[in-house]
Amino acid sequence: MVVFTCHDDFESMMTCIYDAWAARLGHSNIKLRVEPIEEPELFCEYRHIHPDPEKYRKVIRSIRSKISENAYQDVYRASMHWNPDKLDIIYRFLVLGFAMGPRVTRMLGEPYVAALFDLDRKVTNESHQFREFIRFSRLNDQALFSLIEPKCNILTLVAPHFADRMPSENWLIADKKRRIALIHPSDKNYFLTPVTPQELAHMEEARKGDTYSSLWKAFFQAVGVEARANYRCQRNFLPLWYRKDMTEFSR
C-alpha cells in the first residue's frame, strides 16, 4: 500500500490527487491522507507531495470540465473539513466522477458519493452557522474584528457573505486554531494572511472593551420569555460549542 500525503490546503490536496493518479499503482493499492500522520501504519510506503501550481490547475480544470461546476464546489467544500480521511473520499469520488460525468453528484446511493455529501453538508452547515454566530468587536471606531475557532476551515466560505454585507468597512476574522486571518480593507478585496499568537492574544484582550457588548447582553437577556424558558431547545439550535466566542455568552 502506498500512502500519498500532503499539507492541509486545497492546492496541495489537488496536487496530491494528480500525483496519486499519475503514479498508476491502481486505485485500490493507494491511499491519500493529509498531514500530520499521527499513527503510521506498517507495510505502507509514505510519499509526501509538494504543491505544484501546474498540476493543481490541471486537476481543477478537469473536474470542472469533465464532471461539473457543482462537483468542483462540492469537492472544494469537502476539502475544508477537519477529517483527515477527506482526501481519500474526494479521490474515490473523483474516480467515480470521471467515469460517470455530471450525474455523479446525484448518485447518493454510492458510498463515496454519500461520504462526500456528508463532508460537504457538515462544512456548509458549519459555515452557515458561523455566518450567524460570528461576533465582531470594535474599539473607538477602529476596524471590526472577530475571533473564531471553527472545526472546519470556513474562512473562505464566509468571506463573500461578509464582504457583500459590509463592503465599506474595515474588518477581519481570525481563525485561532489555524492562525490565519481574513482581512477586508474598506472598499477593497479581501485576502488571507497568517497571524501570530501575540496578535491573537491582543485581540482576545481588546474585545472586552467594546461598549456595545453590554447593550447587546441587556437586549439578549430581556428578549427571552421566562414563562417559555427552554434551555434544551436553545442548546439544540445553538450548541454550547459555538458559544465560546459569542458576546452574549461571555462574562
Binding site: 448518485m107 450567524e132 461576533r135 463592503p167 465599506s168 447587546w216 437586549f219 431547545c233 439550535f237
Partner: protein
Amino acid sequence: MKIKKEPDLEEKLKILSDAAKYDVACTSSGVDRKGEKGSLGNSRACGICHSFAADGRCISLLKVLLTNHCIYDCKYCINRRSNQRIRTSFTPEELCTITIEFYKRNYIEGLFLSSGVIKNPTYTMELMYRTLFLLRTRYHFRGYIHAKAVPGAAPEIIQEIGYLADRMSVNMELPTRESLQLLAPGKSHQAILRPMGQIRQQIQDYRLSIGKTASMERHFGNQYLAGNIFSSSGEKSRLAEAFTGTLPGGSRGASEAAVTGPAPSPVPIGGKAPSPKDSHRPFAPAGQSTQMIIGATPENDYQLLKVTQALYQQYDLKRVFFSAYIPLNEDRDLPALDTAPPLLREHRLYQADWLLRYYGFQADDLLSPSRPDFNIFLDPKCDWALRHLELFPIEISTASYQELLKVPGIGNKSAWRILQARRCGRLDFSSLKTMGVVLKRAQYFITCHGKMRYHIPVEEDFITRQLTQNEKSSLWELEHPRTYRQLSLFDDHFLEAAPTVEDSRKILTGQL
C-alpha cells in the same frame, strides 16, 4: 405616573425589548438583496438567525417597541393602559444608532419595529416612518426591516412605510371577532383586516409592475403538489366554502368573523400615486405576516387552522404565527394567572402550518368538525397517515414527489434527494438514512424494492403504539420544560449550597 429621571439607553433598550418580546415573528427571510458600496447590509432569502434566547426562540432582528405608551387597554397585553409600568420611548436617532452598531457587529439581521399606540394610530406610524426613513436614507441601511402596521392608521402612511420595510405585519391578535371584542375592546376585526387588504393589494400591484406573478413565491415543491392551498383551482372552491361559513362548533358567526370581512379590494389611497422617490423601492418584498394568540379564548384547532388557511389564500400572507397565551394580567375574561402556556398545542399548529405550506395538505385533511383538535401524542402528519393506512406502504423507487411527502419522516429535502438519487442507482434503507429520511417514523410506511425494513404489520394499533413509545419522552419535555427529574446519585445539578465543614466531618465519620 411621573418618572423621576429619563432612563439611559441601556435601560430604555431593556424596557422596550422586554415589552416587545411577546411578539412572535423574528424572521429575516423572504428577500434577497445584495450589498452596495457605501451602504451597510444585505439580505438573504433564507433568513439568518443570529442567536437563540433562553426560551429557544431565534433572535434575528432587533425586536423593540418604539414606545410602550399605549392608548389601548387590551386585556392580554403587558403594555395595556391600565398597567402600571415605566413608560419610555426611543428617539429615531437612538434607535438608528443601536441598529447600525448591532448590525456591524453581526448581532442582528435588521430591525423589527413595533410600537404601542401613542395619541392615535396614524401619529404612531408617522413616528415609525421617521425612524425607518432615517435608517434607510441617512444611515444607508440595506439590511432587513420588519414593520408592524397599526390597525386604524391612514392608508397613506402604511403605504409609505411599506416602501421602506421588507416585511409588514398586522397582528390578528385573536382568531375570531367575538374574542377580539371580548379581550381587545379598542380594536375591531374590520380595522385589522383593512390594512391587511391594503398591503396585499399594494404588494400585488408592485409585483405586477415589475413583471412578477401577482401572488408571492412559494416553495418550489408546491408546483408538483396537486390541490395545495396556493393552487388557484383548489383555492376557488375552498374560498367559496369558507365564505358560506360551514365551520363547525355551532358558530357560523365565528367562521365569518374569521375569514370574511371585505374581500381584499383596492383601498382608495386618497388619489396619491406612489411618488417618484418610491418608484425604485420595492413594496414589502418579503410579503406580510400576522400572528394570533392561542389558548386565551375557546377556539379549537380546527377553527384556527381554517382561519390560517383562509389568511394564506385570501391575503396571500407569507407566514401566520401562533403565540401560546402567557398569562400576564389578571382579568375575569382571561385564563387564570397560573395557566401554563399551551406550548404543545402551539407546536402542533406550527407543524400543521408547515403541512399546509410545504406538503400540499389542506386544513380539512388534517382536522374535521368531528375531530377538531390535534392528537397530543402524534404529530399531525403521522396522525393523518395512520388514518389513511390504505395509501401505505409507499414504494420508494416509484413514488411521486407528492406521495413521498405524505410519508411521515420524509420532508421536502429528503424527498427531493430520493427523486434524484433513484435515477442513478438502487436505493436501500441505509442510503435513505444518509439522505436524511427519519427511518424511525418512515419505516412503517415505506417499502424499498418491494420490501419493508422489518417484518411490520401495517396495522393502525401496532404502528400507533410503536410511534407513541418513541415520542412520549420528548413530548413530556416539551410540555414541562423546567421540571423535576428522577433523582440520581451522581448528578449535582440542583445542588446549590457548597458542603460545609460539618458536612465533610460527617462524611468522614460515616454519618452522611
